[in-house]
Symmetry: C2
Subunit: 172 residues, 2 copies
Amino acid sequence: MQVKNYIERKNLEKKLHLFKNTCHKNHLKITPQRVTIYKKLISSQEHPSATDIHRKIKNIFPDISLNTINTNLLAFNKIGLINVVEGSGDAKRFDVNLDPHHHFRCLDCNKIIDFYNKDFENIKIAEELIEEFTITDKKLHLEGICDRCKSGYAWFGEDVDNVNYGRSKKRR
Amino acid sequence: MQVKNYIERKNLEKKLHLFKNTCHKNHLKITPQRVTIYKKLISSQEHPSATDIHRKIKNIFPDISLNTINTNLLAFNKIGLINVVEGSGDAKRFDVNLDPHHHFRCLDCNKIIDFYNKDFENIKIAEELIEEFTITDKKLHLEGICDRCKSGYAWFGEDVDNVNYGRSKKRR
DNA sequence: TTGACAAACAGGATTCAATACTATATAGTA
DNA sequence: TACTATATAGTATTGAATCCTGTTTGTCAA
Ligand SMILES: [Mn+2]
Ligand SMILES: [Mn+2]
Ligand SMILES: [Zn+2]
Ligand SMILES: [Zn+2]
């Protein structure tokens, strides 16, 4: 347990180091807000929207504006620190996981979950498609109901901190 | 050519028949607006947004409201006549093609193009995923640059009728 | 064919995400 | 420490989507 925590701490440090380096290279200043936004991205598995992050981060910076979140997320995306993932007409969702991977989206709670699939790399894409288009990304996309929603164990009940009080679909 | 037109006309009639049948079963009245919206969906390969359809259909019903389009698209979706596809934080995109298929999205013009891949059906999804989640949909998603954008042959120049004049990303 | 009624329509209001704009604050550095 | 380019907060604007309401229209039964 001690060892695991040590490894995770080292891992976080490594990511933060890379983050600061990349910001520096791209003339982005290291501000407390910026670092906090990135940390929130790292610590979340849920592919949060800008609003999700805004809500979370208000505990730390009560006056931070949604605009700052949006601006920074777009900046991070531009310099390759994060990706935008398909949300389904909802708000944009952001992905700090840069390893090649795929997504499962729960139709009920709208959570997006990473998974990996080695076999997929070998899948044949028709020649005509490859000739016609320049393909820069190739992903598997699953939809359905996640274990939590399946078991009737609702999205609330834990970490109230992450709850979306808005009109839009519930999200964890 | 005569024969081809005949077949296409027959095909359209068949789809419209199914459409009216399904509406009827679901207590949706057959109105000229409703039929026209569905026809526009059938005749478009581009996975249009509600606004796209609204713009097109104004030629026929100058006073039709965007609300009518949205309400009807959601109604069609509810009774299984169309699907909603992932837009990427943009407006929802609608898909009248009910056959199992996959999508390529152009990062430049935002066009979504259907393609088919038989090999994909056999792809192995990890046991643990299947146990954890109820998977209702499994799709391939490609991104990149379409032939038209690749060749520098811009999205405009043809069918001005379909052009998006809005602030959001250009679309064909 | 007509009349009654439930459903659909147009149009306006509201909500929310996203972007634009700007005055003030601050990180980086000389 | 002081200078300057960038970031931030806060406000305004745009657009998608939903809600609401009064009027119109398709459907079905008489
Ligand atoms: Mn991911
Ligand atoms: Mn499609
Ligand atoms: Zn779920
Ligand atoms: Zn294109």
